[in-house]
């Protein structure tokens, strides 16, 4: 406890990350964090009242101070009272959750200067403009395929792709189409919103809209085998006006690498090594 207290005092700047979920990378993560804080305030009050009543009664009603126990069997009004009170708190939390929900599940429009492309399926921002990335989980790496056509085939050979590190444009609503080719994985970059399972045979969706350039860390959140811990993800946000160039550069790199492999293969076959 002392060690804990000391470490909390010594690292006040890091504290924010340890009492609320991570946020700051996308509006949905921010909304979840603010919903979490509302529940936290209510919970703190309940916690203090209940633990306070417990500690007070242990202190006040020891046999030494309170020699005779009151023979009370119950109090119907009191019992109905606290049942209703508990229920009311939960009604309030339910209402708050459903008020906050649209901001968490519905993506906003991209900024006017964002990198725009037409969309195919849910979730969609109101004007239907977003950028699509297909996220494919497999033991033990994430593959990202860029462009709306990936929805039909995440391994579409004409689309640029990358592994582990995803590069996306700033100020743009990015829709993620999440699939798995083997076992259940879970896509999670904490600052960019909640996690979404990648289940083989199913397609799931999420989105984020990153306000400024930066690098966000995440990792697979569902046990997927021995190297589960190594299945990390990085999301790299770059300015929207540089994004088209990045995509074509990535395509060029992939073609060059493919050409090299083809050449190597030919040499190996000629030498009889393959």
């Amino acid at each position: 406890m002392l060690v804990l207290a000391a470490s909390l005092i010594l690292a006040p700047s890091a504290l924010a990350n340890f009492i609320t979920p991570k946020s700051g990378g996308s509006p949905n993560a921010d909304q979840i964090a603010s919903l979490y804080k509302i529940i936290l305030y209510v919970a703190a009050v309940v916690f203090v009242i209940v633990e306070g009543a417990l500690i007070y009664s242990i202190y006040r009603f020891r046999a030494k101070k309170s020699a005779v126990a009151a023979q009370i069997h119950g109090n119907t009004r009191l019992e109905i009272g606290w049942t209703v009170a508990a229920a009311l708190i939960l009604v309030v939390l339910t209402v708050v959750t459903f008020v906050k929900l649209p901001g968490i599940i519905n993506p906003p429009n991209s900024n006017a200067n964002g990198y725009l492309a037409a969309s195919l399926s849910a979730p969609e921002p109101p004007n239907g403009k977003e950028f699509t990335v297909c996220v494919t989980g497999r033991q033990y790496i994430w593959r990202y395929t860029y462009g709306a056509q990936c929805v039909n085939n995440a391994f579409n050979s004409r689309l640029p792709y990358s592994y582990q590190e995803m590069t996306v444009p700033v100020g743009t609503t990015v829709k993620l189409v999440i699939q798995s080719t083997d076992v259940v994985h879970s896509w999670w970059v904490p600052s960019l919103g909640g996690k979404v399972d990648a289940v083989p045979g199913y397609t799931t969706y999420t989105w984020f809209k990153i306000p400024h350039t930066g690098l966000w860390h995440g990792q697979c959140a569902q046990l997927c085998g021995r190297n589960h811990a190594a299945m990390t993800a990085l999301v790299h946000a770059i300015p929207a006006d540089e994004y088209a160039a990045w995509l074509s550069n990535q395509s060029a790199l992939i073609s060059a690498a493919n050409a090299q492999v083809t050449q190597l293969r030919r040499i190996l076959i000629l030498n009889g090594n393959l």
Binding site: L35, F61, R62, A63, H73, E79, V184, K195, V199, L223
Partner: protein, 567 residues
């Protein structure tokens, strides 16, 4: 001694006599062939506690591995094996069956019965439990399973988990499942049919209420998981494709079936603990339980709701939003009866005359910790928040607050409370309190910081992590705490072993108990009672003490209070 003599006796006193039958078999053969619910209860308690120690060692190994970043003590393969063994052991071989152990020993005594309804079936259910545990632990010599205690396919399929360890896990579920089902039917039949004269439903001890509901929940929850693991077995070896996405099977089907069992299982583990607390708190507050009916009713309501909340384990899975909303509401609802119980326990302490025994320390520690476990449950039930918290250390912290702070503390409470009845000797109270403080502090050090780890992005079930993620300090605190917790548990183990021979003699009723188990000798004779008193309230022993006081004019001290008050 004839019945008339007892009926004419002016003052009620302990009426039970050891029937001395010349020993025909060796002592160990007695233990193997016994159908006495008390011996079977002891077998259950000892066996499950051994599994608890094994599961605890597995946990400590994992904590050591996570104590520092990039640790290479354990390979990822062994880490996955340990997390699977730890979860499976604690759920299937410790918490669920140890509650059956307490139930076995005390349900017949508390309802004034001479044994369980089906004594031989009772023996079967214990030996099946042991068999299931042996089948599972034999994998240590081959390949232990490594797909986690919920074994999601396709990871648990033959393609990704080819070793026989996964099959051993399936057989463990089958065998311990049959053991629990048989035991549950036995509890149900016993409680419904064998209560003492006058013990109506409104006078049933709350622990017995809890075991009754525990039995009903087991009967509801076990068949779906038995079906699910059978389907997994046929998927693995006999060419079916229930959970195989490459042949239009569905991994999500497994998740539904497993959690339809898995969430009631949570309440199967905690309700008997609630029952123990509801017995111990009134005894040591010297005050009747506050709101008996509300506590009994909330147990039933929790059990009903427990069958309607399973998909809150699947908020990140492909499930429609409207379904998530339903499961959020049902999970919120379950907070109400749980809160009612906590308020009732505190109200029982209120204006009582509290005697701080070691058993009560554990009961109060349980309330303090369970409140936090319940509150974090509300965060997790809010599905958008759960998208951030699910599968992180926040969840690990949450369910350890309910299962260790909750169930394990109630189990220790039960050990300190009932040890004198089971063995006839008192445990050392001071050592018990020292054990409590080690466990309480160690527990909070281990698990409180894990909330922070989860919030800062650490997923569960990773065998190591990089040093630059800000997780190192909290993990180190957690690891140190886990060893303090382990020391606390060992202190109680030493206390138990020492007290078996060196404890003070307890007498029939050392605590001034409320329920019928304190009416007979400690330990009780084979037939429990020669004569069962007529039950007139939920606290028959208190009625009997009052009657004695009226008739003799002598204030009844607790049978052994002077023995423990001196410590």
């Amino acid at each position: 001694m004839s019945t008339t003599e007892i009926a004419l006796r002016p003052v009620p006193q302990v009426v039970a006599h050891e029937v001395i039958v010349p020993r025909e078999t060796k002592r160990w053969v007695d233990w193997l062939t016994t159908t006495d619910h008390k011996k079977i209860g002891i077998l259950y308690l000892v066996t499950t506690f051994v599994f608890f120690m094994l599961g605890g060692v597995e946990a400590l190994l994992m904590r050591v591995q996570l104590g520092v970043p990039n640790n290479t003590l354990l390979s990822s393969e062994h880490y996955n094996e340990l997390l699977t063994m730890h979860g499976t052991t604690m759920v299937f071989l410790f918490v669920v069956p140890i509650m059956a152990g307490f139930g076995n020993y005390f349900v017949p005594l508390m309802i004034g019965a001479r044994d369980m309804a089906f004594p031989r079936l009772n023996a079967l259910s214990f030996w099946l439990l042991l068999l299931g545990g042996i089948v599972f632990y034999m994998t240590l010599f081959f390949h232990p399973p490594e797909a986690g205690w919920w074994s999601y396919p396709p990871l648990s399929s033959i393609t990704y988990s080819p070793s026989g360890g996964q099959d051993a896990w399936i057989f463990l579920i089958h065998i311990t499942g049959i053991s629990s089902l048989v035991g549950a039917i036995n509890f149900y039949a016993t409680i419904v049919n064998m209560r003492a004269p006058g013990m109506s439903w409104g006078r049933l001890p709350l622990f017995v209420w809890a075991i009754l509901i525990y039995a009903i929940l087991l009967i509801i929850a076990l068949p779906p998981v038995a079906a699910a693991v059978t389907m997994l077995l046929t998927d693995r070896h006999f060419g079916t494709h229930f959970f195989d996405p490459t042949a239009h099977g569905s991994p999500v089907l497994w998740q539904h079936l497993f959690w339809f069992f898995g969430h009631p299982e949570v309440y199967i583990m905690i309700l008997p603990g609630f029952g123990i607390i509801s017995e111990v708190i009134p005894v040591f507050s010297r005050k009747p339980i506050f709101g008996y009916k509300a506590i009994a009713a909330s147990t039933a309501v929790i059990a009903f709701l427990a069958t309607l909340v399973w998909a809150h384990h699947m908020f990140a899975a492909p499930v429609p939003i409207v379904v998530l909303g339903f499961f959020m509401l049902s999970s919120f609802l379950i907070g109400v009866p749980t809160g009612v119980k906590i308020f009732n326990w505190i109200a029982t302490l209120w204006r009582g005359s509290i005697q701080m025994t070691a058993a009560l320390y554990f009961a109060l520690g349980f309330i303090a910790l369970f409140v936090l476990g319940g509150i974090t449950g509300i965060f997790l039930a809010t599905f958008p928040v759960d998208w951030q918290l699910n599968d992180t250390y926040f969840v690990v912290a949450h369910f350890h607050y309910t299962l260790v702070g909750g169930a394990v503390f109630t189990i220790f409470c039960g050990i300190y409370y009932w040890f004198p009845k089971i063995t006839g000797r008192m445990m050392n109270e001071t050592v018990g309190k020292v054990s409590f403080w080690f466990m309480f502090i160690g527990f909070n050090m281990t698990f409180f910081v894990q909330h922070a780890l989860g919030l800062s992005g650490m997923p569960r079930r990773i065998y190591t992590y990089a040093p630059n993620l800000g997780w190192s300090t909290y993990n180190l605190i957690s690891t140190i705490g886990s060893f303090i917790l382990a020391v606390g548990i060992l202190i109680t183990v030493v206390n138990v072993v020492r007290s078996l021979h060196h404890g003070k003699v307890a007498g029939p009723d050392p605590w001034k108990g409320n329920t019928l188990e304190w009416f007979t000798t400690s330990p009780p004779p084979v037939n429990n009672f020669d004569e069962v008193p007529r039950v007139r309230s939920v606290e028959p022993m208190r009625d009997i003490r009052r009657q004695i006081e009226r008739q003799t004019g002598v204030t009844q001290k607790t049978g052994g209070s002077e023995q423990f008050a001196r410590v």
